[in-house]
């Protein structure tokens, strides 16, 4: 067994174990921490595939961004002694069926696909290549999805500012009068 296989087994065991712990943990911040471990080991898999850009994006967006956001909101809202109740039997059965069928479907699809083995060495994905194909209008360029996603992000940012914006002084005096 080569070092590659050992690392692969290590990462996949970590992903499976921590994923299960994430959904079974009764304490919410522990669940968030286990989710962090799942995301970090996934980025380890990307590092193994030599796709370092994807790995770093995984770390900075999911581990450094989304998990931090989740932890922030937990910090603001929940108390340390708070524990979730045990879910009812009905819930357990239905979610188990749903997740097992989902896993079976994706495993069957992957096994169905004919992976053709090559003798070519693993290619390093260059930064220049990624940047050029993101900005390219050629056949395999990604300029349209890139622009669509940036408009979506802009809309989300404007919406969040509008939601978070304090109402003007006029409404303040109105509430004062009501009191």
């Amino acid at each position: 067994m080569g070092s590659n296989q050992i690392m692969f087994i290590l990462f996949s065991v970590m992903i499976v174990v921590f994923s299960i712990l994430t959904v079974t943990s009764r304490r919410i911040l522990r669940a968030a921490t286990f989710l962090l471990f799942v995301l970090v080991s996934t980025s380890g898999l990307y590092f193994m595939l030599n796709y370092q850009f994807m790995a770093a994006v995984q770390l900075t967006l999911y581990a450094g961004g989304i998990v931090v956001l989740i932890i922030f909101s937990i910090l603001l809202t929940s108390h340390i002694n708070q524990k979730f109740e045990e879910p009812g039997n009905k819930k357990i059965i239905f979610s188990a069926i749903a997740s097992i069928t989902g896993a079976l479907l994706s495993i069957l699809t992957i096994l169905d696909f004919k992976f053709s083995a090559t003798t070519q060495a693993a290619q390093e994905v260059n930064m220049r290549l990624i940047g050029k194909s993101l900005m390219s209008v050629e056949y395999d360029g990604y300029i349209l999805p890139f622009e669509v996603i940036s408009i979506l992000l802009l809309a989300a940012m404007i919406a969040s500012i509008v939601v978070a914006k304090k109402s003007g002084p006029r409404t303040d005096t109105q509430t004062l009068k009501q009191e």
């Binding site: 911040l29 370092q52 770390l59 900075t60 450094g64 931090v68 922030f72 910090l75 994905v125």
Partner: protein, 378 residues
């Protein structure tokens, strides 16, 4: 048999021994070849990983202890005191004595705390620290991993350090710790933007994110000189944001003693407190090392394009001396910040980032892109 092994190790080096100070890859290649002749590739990789791990552990401890000592001496110098002077000449063994004391201290278990997360938090901070320093170039050939996304990897990994701080603050079950962690979180998340944007300015100038290539591009002059005022602005912004990122004064409301006792690590004692403390100093080292790599040429000696004789004289100083010299100079500047400026309020801190640094930075990136497009840098 044993003598045979050692002579075969030495015969692996074809060059005179002092050359390794100038190009460290001679040593690493020699050791690698020697190990490969002795055992299978799998065990070679395992043993090399163990060696590099031990070297980084040692480096981590030595740099941490030295920086704590340096901080106390610099602080004493600025306040017209002597500083530590009892243990060893000029008190250089003071931090080792402190470390021994911390090792023997009791680890107090907190009632009503989330024990698992409480114990996990210092390790997250330390592990993130190790992942960052493993990608730094310390000298020519003295570079553990050279990713093609180098600087992006460092930014990505260091953005996870905040998770350890947040977990520590929450799991202590203490209002001071919680407020300290929240402040520290808000501060680090917002100043990360400035750090990333000021580094992007330099990435535009260099045309690559690989750290070894960035340093190679500074052979004809450091980026702070090559990039005109634009690089200078980026450097100043990076220094401000980097100081804030390490939670050091004047940006240290996260652990403002007068308001929050010690912030997120109030409840920690003994070696777990030492982990947080060391991690803070290593963070400062990392910030300074990135500043020296991106703006001041890293291990590249001071070169002026066209002055052949001068450049050759400068090349006689070994690269790691240049790297550590520049890094400690930046650390000295960051320490001066701490002991000269008064602490900011949280609203002043967020105003500084979102209303001043961020817009200046965005304009600066545009200016740098324009300069590079026009070819006006040299």
């Amino acid at each position: 048999m044993r003598i045979d092994l050692i002579t075969s190790l030495f015969s692996a080096f074809s060059e005179p021994w002092w050359k390794i100070f100038y190009d460290f890859s001679i040593l690493t290649r020699g050791v690698d070849e020697w190990l490969r002749n002795l055992m299978t590739p799998f065990w070679t990789v395992v043993i090399e990983m163990v060696i590099i791990g031990v070297v980084f552990l040692l480096l981590y401890a030595v740099i941490g202890l030295f920086l704590v000592y340096a901080e106390r001496k610099v602080c004493a110098f600025l306040q017209n005191r002597l500083g530590p002077n009892r243990i060893g000449p000029y008190g250089i063994f003071q931090t080792i004595a402190d470390l021994v004391k911390l090792l023997f201290k009791e680890l107090i278990a907190i009632k009503n705390a989330d024990r698992f997360l409480f114990n996990l938090a210092p390790y997250i901070v330390i592990i993130v620290n190790f992942m960052v320093i493993s990608a730094l170039p310390f000298g020519k050939g003295l570079h553990a991993i050279d990713f093609n996304i180098g600087i992006f990897y460092i930014l990505a990994v260091s953005s996870m350090g905040i998770i350890g701080v947040l977990l520590a603050g929450w799991s202590s079950n203490n209002k001071y710790s919680l407020i300290g962690a929240m402040r520290s979180g808000a501060q680090i998340v917002s100043y990360e933007l400035s750090i990333a944007l000021s580094l992007i300015t330099i990435v535009i100038l260099a045309g690559t994110m690989q750290l070894s290539e960035i340093i190679e591009a500074q052979r004809s002059g450091w980026f702070i000189f090559k990039g005109h005022f634009s690089a200078l602005i980026a450097f100043v912004i990076y220094l401000i944001a980097g100081t804030a990122e390490t939670n050091r004064g004047p940006f240290d409301m996260a652990e403002a003693e007068s308001e929050l006792t010690a912030g997120y690590h109030t409840e920690y004692s003994g070696i777990k407190f030492a982990f947080f403390y060391l991690a803070e100093y290593i963070n400062m080292f990392v910030v300074a090392a990135i500043a020296s790599t991106m703006f001041l040429g890293g291990w590249m000696p001071f070169h002026v394009a066209g002055w052949e004789g001068f450049n050759n004289v400068m090349d006689y100083i070994p690269p790691f001396v240049w790297f550590f010299g520049k890094t400690f100079m930046v650390i000295w500047i960051i320490m001066l910040f701490k002991w000269t400026f008064p602490r900011l309020r949280i609203d002043q801190l967020l105003t500084l980032e979102w209303k001043y640094l961020l817009p200046i930075n965005l304009v600066n990136v545009l200016i740098m892109a324009f300069l590079v497009l026009k070819g006006w840098h040299f």
